[in-house]
């Protein structure tokens, strides 16, 4: 396995609260890696630290053995693309203009016709062509998510980070978005790191699952090895029935494990 991205000893504190603690991770080229964990476990923070949206206090992240901290932001934007969870929007933009933004790291000041062509190619690939002139804000949640993925694709990076791409989507759109991600990774030789809540989605679509708890990695490996009853009990505090279908584990949650009073689990 060729190591595409490696995270060494990463620590991030926010107002002297540890969010990530000495985190190490290696991601193989051409993989889909899902990062799972309870709320507040640091999934999104990890994603943002990798892309240097948040600046970690300690540790390094490198891609193809190049330290990201030493890269100018524009170079970084040609290496890693980031798909945000939800995009705050104040002013109207068309879908085309949103995707064109992804060309920013490659541009001089003026957008050339080459960039327009790439935007069209990305839109065609994701089946968004007909929506090109619609305002982004008028799309459905699933369409918006795909447009944001299209924007990341327009950056032409080898790595794509996604922050909870399926939250707020119905089941059809969840599968739609995850299929898009899988197809892209397989066909375009990308590496995807996905922060995700839905364990069954993660199991179905990932090559590797990384399970986090309170800023550290508890388990990492193929879905079948990580999504075990013991891990779910210790990380999520739930009892669950883990079954296997087509070699993929799926989880039937049963109950909470009662919280011991006094010391014990953080709420």
């Amino acid at each position: 396995m060729i190591i595409k991205l490696s995270v060494n000893d990463l620590s991030f504190r926010y107002h002297s609260t540890d969010v990530l603690r000495n985190l190490c991770l290696e991601v193989g080229d051409g993989r889909i890696v899902s990062v799972v964990g309870p709320n507040g476990s640091g999934k999104s923070t990890l994603i943002k630290c990798i892309d240097r949206i948040l600046l970690p206090q300690e540790g390094t992240v490198s891609v193809d053995r190049c330290d990201l901290a030493k890269m100018p932001r524009v170079t970084l934007a040609k290496t890693i693309a980031y798909v945000p969870q939800n995009s705050l929007r104040v002013f109207p933009n068309t879908v085309f203009d949103v995707v064109l933004m992804g060309r920013r790291p490659h541009l001089g000041w003026r957008g050339g016709s080459q960039d327009d062509e790439i935007v069209w190619a990305v839109l065609r690939l994701l089946g968004l062509e007909e929506l090109a002139l619609s305002p982004f804000t008028e799309l459905s949640g699933g369409q918006q998510q795909k447009v944001l993925i299209a924007r990341a694709l327009a950056q032409e990076t080898g790595i794509i980070l996604l922050d909870e791409p399926t939250s707020n989507l119905d089941i059809w759109h969840q599968i739609d978005v995850m299929d898009v991600i899988r197809t892209l990774v397989r066909q375009r030789d990308l590496t995807a790191i996905v922060a995700i809540h839905d364990l069954n989605m993660a199991a179905r679509y990932s090559d590797t699952i990384v399970m986090m708890k309170r800023g550290t990695i508890v388990a990492a490996g193929p879905p079948g090895e990580v999504l075990t009853g013991e891990n779910l009990a210790s990380v999520y505090g739930i009892r669950a029935n883990v079954r296997t279908s087509e070699d993929i584990p799926f989880i039937i949650p049963l109950s909470r494990i009662p919280v011991r009073s006094g010391k014990g689990r953080r709420i």
């Binding site: 932001r73 104040v90 002013f91 920013r104 375009r188 030789d189 193929p222």
Partner: protein, 376 residues
């Protein structure tokens, strides 16, 4: 375990651009997009033409009766001396009063509108403008200081302008500095701006309270905003500052597009959001400070011209910045023409007219029932 795929296209140079269309022709939607871009360019050209025509008309009207041929005779005389023989007083009116006034309206309108436009983008707030952020209140404070206490930094005819400029600059410096401590987010900048605005308003009220009638009149006339005080010297100065600042702001058009979708996304696409925000605020505050110092408080343009631009062209700053500037220039030009001619020979302060005609126009645009803020 899935193997790593090779032989496929490597990331980074992967798009078979242009070959994907089955027919080999441009698809309908691409054509529609090309048309929408073309429409934006056309709009800018039309706006420029309108401005030129408006200048051509407005220069011929004024309280002093000068016929249209005489006006153009004077202008041609200026370029090629000795073509026509026209009275000295008429020449003075056209060259020393009307022309600087028209140019001043265009520069000030253009500058204020562009500053409002870029501030709205970097602060991600449609209500941001040079005036909601307290920059004008700072300038007013400088004027009050000169009028009431006689504290001035420049002597002679520029004593008000010098003070207004200095305190506008101090005010924006404080806003940028305060928010810099907290990491230059749009929220801290807006809150700092509004807080500073209240502070200076309070001090201005205090000065109004202790001022005598003459001082009060000086302060309130300045506060109404007028471009009648402009002469060729001040036009030159305004022009130089505008010519330096506006291209600097325009060079960030792409970054501004990205900033409107949020700092995190902007960073992930290679734009250092904090740096761009501070850069834009520094340059636009400098421009606003100079403009406000010379013409006083002409509000509303900086707020409204960018919004009209957005309604017409959408939010791509490569087109929006010149559109907002042109609209601002046109609005102020018309407002000023009205303020000079409506109650001639009395000139109404331009700021008053601006709001009186601008607000109904803006409300009309909002209420026209365009749910989508688009043309294309």
């Amino acid at each position: 375990m899935k193997s790593v795929r090779r032989g496929g296209t490597a990331p980074g140079k992967a798009w078979d651009t242009g070959k994907k269309t089955r027919t080999g022709k441009i698809s309908k939607i691409e054509e529609a997009h090309a048309q929408s871009v073309w429409k934006k360019v056309l709009f800018l050209l039309a706006l420029a033409t309108l401005l030129i025509l408006a200048v051509g008309v407005i220069i011929t009207i004024g309280p002093m009766p000068i016929t249209v041929p005489e006006v153009y005779g004077i202008l041609i005389n200026r370029l090629i001396p000795g073509c026509f023989s026209i009275g000295k007083s008429m020449e003075n009116v056209v060259l020393q009063i009307r022309l600087p006034r028209i140019l001043g309206a265009i520069i000030v309108g253009f500058g204020l509108a562009i500053c409002g436009c870029v501030m709205q983008a970097v602060l991600k707030n449609p209500l941001a403008s040079p005036f909601t952020l307290g920059i004008s209140a700072g300038a007013q404070f400088g004027v009050s200081l000169a009028a009431v206490l006689g504290v001035t930094i420049l002597g002679g005819p520029y004593f008000l302008i010098g003070n207004a400029f200095l305190f506008a600059l101090i005010c924006s410096g404080v806003i940028i500095g305060l928010s810099g401590i907290k990491g230059a987010t749009s929220e801290t900048m807006i809150l700092a701006g509004i807080a500073i605005n209240y502070l200076f308003q309070a001090t201005n009220q205090f000065f109004s309270y202790i001022a005598n009638d003459d001082q009060l009149r000086l302060m309130s006339v300045w506060g109404m905003g007028s471009i009648s005080g402009l002469n060729w010297h001040s036009i030159l100065l305004l022009g130089i500052v505008a010519v330096i600042c506006i291209p600097l702001l325009y060079s960030k058009a792409w970054d501004l597009n990205l900033m409107t979708v949020g700092d995190e996304s902007a960073k992930s696409m290679g734009v250092d959001a904090g740096h761009v925000r501070v850069f834009i605020m520094v340059v636009s505050s400098l421009l606003v400070s100079v403009l406000v110092a010379f013409v006083g408080v002409i509000g509303f343009i900086g707020l409204v011209a960018p919004h009209i631009g957005r309604m017409i062209l959408g939010s791509d700053h490569r087109y929006l910045i010149p559109a907002a500037g042109g609209l601002g220039a046109a609005l102020l030009l018309f407002a000023d023409a009205i303020s000079v001619n409506l109650l001639a020979p009395t000139t109404i302060p331009t700021g008053i007219v601006m709001s009186m005609i601008g607000v109904p126009f803006f409300l009309y645009l909002i209420l026209r029932g365009k749910r989508r803020e688009y043309w294309s």
